[in-house]
């Protein structure tokens, strides 16, 4: 038995331990035991993933009680990368949970669900055939639904969110099931290794691709199937939302990679264009809504569908460029997709953990009521700041390197002679650039409004820094973001090997060289250069600071006014107002302003109340009608059963007759 097999076994065993300790023990003991066991599961997964990346292979056959062929666990390199990603996120999230969970989220079921969720997420990329994939997928989906439901007793919104999530996630499951069925029918096998030969010609392959793409897109939170994200993430406990948003959605992208890159490599042009449109569309839509969101976790959720959009756009770009014979740029694009995925996992986990720390300390998710937290929660502020840098893809973070790789692929993917490429590439570039710009606004807002300036509500004033058990995971996440940014070379090389593309190799000080397009970037060298040029300035700064220390003034300058209250500051809503106004037609916010005049004269307002709501246009325009139609259908269906026993017997009687006729015929 080789390390990979051991690793898989260890995960299952540890998961059982975690469930057992969750059920057996109680109180703080349960948190510690189950939490560390969950961390163990994730850690084992990460180690397994590493050994797979290092070249280890295995094919475990597990016979199940189900009337299906035995499920096969045979992770390939790509799967290994995903196992590593999921495992790393799982470790910090589990450790964080030890200190974070309280009340309902510390219950038996929650811990057990967490363990099973982690296990399921490990098995999905490990799966070597359709059966294993689907079983693991369903385990992941069910467990995550339980996690979302954690606080259903306290807030009724939780139930709504959970319903949406359950429906969407099982819709995606059904689609994936159907898609794989069509694929197996076309390929004549259920094991991925055999299916890899499936041609992309023929109706079967097309149907399979469309079904699988839609199914995985729903899991990856791409527009228009993203509606569960902004509902589920705010309501789920933060370690769960971190896991879902950093790890689980990545598996949606993994599914698309599996289909588009491993199983059906030579895709027709329109598949690629479909993916690019889907991805770029969700990127812009997601970041627009994130930009105007005031609920911190909702903002992060929308930014998730933005980042996954970028990933899918990169995948589509890679497929397009490969089909149109631009292999170098194609491999750069696929490396970019994986780098985006990894860096997104790192910074999104950090950000959600930070948001959870703020929520735990202040009970606030509303940015409009935060402010000045940097004074009371310096650690959280620092880690959240690093995460925001990553999300805004600024140097030197993983997001920066990933976006740089993507733009290199775009710029070197130019083929004036080829009509499709010539049109698609610049349009994509424009959309991605707009996304990057808006991401900047979004995360400057998120960090600046929440942590800087003065407290906007009393609840924030009393905030206390998170305990060490929560701080350490946050710091680890932040360090991960910075490490991905400083030494991206190894990661990029691993990513390239994971998809079998000779796309990238290490250059210089942990820098990345895109061999396909001959571009080099060494962030370490960039930092070095920055240090060199900044050195004189820094010396001068320190000299002056010693010579003339600053004096602290009493008031911020308010034009000599003495009555400058914190409510005069810009808040998240007003910060996003220009964006809101510019993209008014796309966002369609509903505002209302109520002015109550003084009794004496209508020229003097006693109070002006302004309220603004941004509903998800897709949800309002697409899903509400669907839901209404479904309700109507259900109403009609109810007429069939009126409770009279005779009618039910009649049904079964007719059914019996029908069966007999069928059998006879």
């Amino acid at each position: 038995m080789n390390p990979v097999a051991w690793g898989l076994l260890a995960q299952v065993v540890l998961a059982v331990c975690a469930v057992a300790s969750a059920l057996a023990t109680r109180g703080h003991v349960r948190n510690v035991l189950a939490g560390s066991a969950c961390a163990g599961v994730a850690g084992a997964g990460a180690v397994t993933g590493m050994s797979v990346l290092a070249g280890g292979t295995v094919a475990v056959q597990v016979t199940t009680a189900l009337p299906v062929p035995p499920m096969v666990l045979a992770p390939d390199r790509l799967g290994g990368l995903l196992m590593l990603l999921v495992g790393a996120v799982g470790v910090i999230a589990s450790v964080y949970a030890i200190g974070y969970v309280h009340g309902a989220s510390a219950s038996r079921t929650q811990w057990a669900a967490l363990a099973l969720f982690l296990l399921g997420m490990q098995l999905v990329p490990a799966a070597g055939d359709v059966v294993a994939f689907l079983l693991a997928w369903e385990l992941m989906a069910a467990a995550s639904t339980v996690l979302v439901l954690a606080e259903h007793a306290h807030r009724h919104t939780v139930r709504h969110a959970a319903v949406w999530y359950a429906v969407m996630t099982h819709l995606s499951f059904v689609l994936i099931l159907a898609g794989f069925a069509a694929l197996s029918a076309a390929g004549g096998s259920t094991s991925f290794a055999a299916l890899a030969g499936t041609g992309t010609a023929g109706a079967g392959a097309t149907v399979a691709f469309v079904l699988l793409t839609v199914g995985f897109a729903a899991k990856a939170g791409l527009v228009p199937l993203h509606v569960w994200l902004p509902r589920a993430h705010p309501e789920a406990p933060s370690h769960a939302s971190a896991l879902m948003s950093a790890a689980m959605v990545s598996l949606g992208a993994y599914g698309i990679l599996l289909v588009g890159v491993r199983l059906m490599p030579d895709a027709p042009t329109w598949w690629a264009v479909l993916l690019i449109a889907l991805g770029a569309g969700s990127a812009v839509y997601g970041i627009l809504h994130a930009g105007v969101a005031t609920d911190l976790k909702r903002l992060l959720a929308y930014s998730t569908s933005e980042n996954l959009g970028l990933v899918v756009a990169a995948i589509g770009l890679a497929m397009l460029l490969r089909t149109h014979h631009v292999p170098g740029a194609a491999s750069a694009a696929i490396v970019a997709a994986l780098l985006l995925l990894v860096s997104h996992a790192a910074f999104k986990a950090t950000l959600f953990l930070g948001a959870g720390a703020v929520l735990r300390a202040t009970g606030e998710r509303d940015l409009d009521r935060m402010g000045g937290l940097v004074h009371t929660m310096p650690w959280t502020a620092a880690t959240f700041g690093v995460g925001s840098l990553g999300a805004a893809s600024l140097p030197v973070t993983g997001g920066f390197v990933a976006e740089w790789t993507l733009l290199q692929a775009l710029i070197h993917g130019v083929r004036p002679a080829d009509r499709v490429v010539a049109v698609v590439v610049p349009l994509t570039l424009g959309l991605i650039a707009l996304t990057a710009g808006l991401a900047l606004v979004t995360f400057v807002k998120a960090f600046g409004i929440a942590f800087l300036a003065r407290a906007r509500s009393a609840a924030v004033l009393g905030a206390r820094e998170a305990p060490w058990s929560m701080r350490v995971p946050m710091v680890l996440g932040a360090l991960g973001v910075l490490a991905l940014g400083l030494l991206p070379g190894p990661v990029a090389a691993a990513a390239a090997s994971a998809v079998g593309a000779e796309g990238a190799r290490v250059a210089g000080l942990g820098g990345v060289e895109l061999t396909g397009v001959g571009a080099v970037l060494s962030p370490a060298a960039l930092v070095g250069l920055g240090a060199v040029v900044a050195l004189p300035a820094l010396v001068l700064v320190l000299a002056l600071a010693r010579q003339r220390p600053a004096t602290a003034d009493v008031l911020a300058w308010g034009c000599g006014g003495v009555r400058t209250s914190p409510r005069m500051q810009y808040n998240a809503t007003s910060y996003a107002e220009p964006v809101m106004r510019i993209f008014n037609d796309a966002l369609q916010p509903s505002r209302d302003v109520v002015v109550t005049h003084l009794a004496e004269s209508t020229y003097h307002a006693e109070r002006v109340r302004f309220s603004q709501r941004v509903d998800d246009v897709v949800e309002a325009r697409l899903f509400r009608p669907l839901v209404a139609a479904a309700d109507a259908l259900a109403e009609r269906a109810r007429r069939v059963q009126n409770g009279s026993i005779n009618r039910y017997l009649g049904f079964s009687f007719t059914a019996l007759v029908a069966v007999l006729l069928v059998v006879a015929g």
């Binding site: 650039a433 707009l434 710009g437 600046g448 300036a453 970037l521 060298a525 600053a550 004096t551 007003s574």
Partner: protein
């Protein structure tokens, strides 16, 4: 990485730091002359800088370390920008590409620093300026990338140094429709990024119309000195880039003393010319209403996009 380009980069930084106050001085002086005033002379910004360094900064109570760090970060980003953009010589660094996206990200790092600086003091104006500034730089981004994409198509690389070198060696590409459109679009975004008229009025005293000024209302003494120097550096570096794209002659192709000196002199000439032109244009212009700015930027985006299409047409 090889030493020569690094040395040249450092020379570029020193040259840029030396020129930045003069560029601002020239614009102010030109404006004063066109308005019939005498003007304080081109050295005035340098005097202001010296005085600011000699003063004791005031920091509002309740501000975070961001207030102390952000000005230095902003300055560093501008210095790094001066090292990355081909000003005196077009020599790409081996490990750090003078790649457009890297340059823009470094620029944006500074933008974020000053935006957070504006938020930190917790006054109403700072937040206002920060919000407007970030919105504009978000809308600017597509134009920047698409226009340089158009410039990079004929060259086959997005490294600014290579683009400038290619234009120097094939002057015909400067007059080509693609080149012209792309540069015009780039000029618009440079004006937007550096907060000049018609997007922002650098000499306004009216808080409600401010964008850049509003963010530094809280800064004083050396903090203000860093912020000012950084934004002057930005202006002169980006103007220098435009100058090198339009008139790429004189940019050093090798690291020798002679070429670099010539490059520096050429840069001085281009900067002086562009500064005078900028001031003259500003005298003839009124500030655009804030919510007409997206219109202008959309226009610049269309120009950049047309540049891409045009570059396909002649290809």
């Amino acid at each position: 990485m090889s030493v020569a380009p690094l040395v040249v980069a450092l020379v570029q930084v020193t040259v840029a730091v030396a020129f930045a106050p003069l560029v601002v001085g020239v614009t102010r002086q030109t404006r004063a002359r066109l308005e019939g005033r005498v003007g304080p002379g081109v050295l005035q910004p340098a005097r202001d800088l010296r005085k600011l360094l000699a003063k004791t900064p005031l920091r509002a109570a309740g501000t975070s370390p961001v207030t102390v760090v952000a000005p230095v970060v902003l300055l560093t980003s501008s210095l790094l920008l001066a090292a990355l953009v081909p000003l005196v010589a077009a020599l790409p660094l081996s490990l750090v590409p003078g790649d457009l996206f890297v340059a823009v990200s470094v620029l944006l790092l500074g933008t974020v620093a000053i935006a957070l600086l504006g938020l930190d003091a917790g006054s109403a104006f700072g937040g206002m300026g920060s919000s407007r500034h970030m919105t504009i730089s978000a809308l600017v981004e597509p134009t920047v990338l698409v226009s340089v994409y158009a410039l990079s198509i004929p060259v086959g690389s997005s490294a600014l140094a290579l683009i400038v070198a290619a234009r120097r060696d094939h002057p015909a590409s400067i007059a080509s429709p693609a080149g012209v459109l792309a540069v015009v679009a780039l000029v618009i975004v440079v004006i937007a990024e550096t907060g000049r008229l018609p997007i922002d009025n650098p000499s306004t005293h009216l808080e409600l119309t401010m964008i850049h000024e509003a963010m530094e209302l809280e800064q004083s003494g050396r903090d203000l000195a860093w912020v000012d120097l950084a934004s002057w550096l930005r202006l002169s570096v980006l103007l220098g880039l435009v100058g090198n794209l339009v008139l790429p002659w004189g940019v050093a192709g090798s690291a020798g003393f002679g070429p670099v000196l010539l490059g520096a002199l050429a840069l001085a000439g281009k900067l002086a010319l562009l500064a005078v032109l900028l001031a003259a244009a500003e005298v003839a212009m009124a500030k655009l209403r804030l919510f007409r700015v997206p219109e202008l930027l959309a226009g610049s985006f269309v120009l950049a996009f047309l540049a891409v299409t045009a570059s396909y047409l002649v290809a």
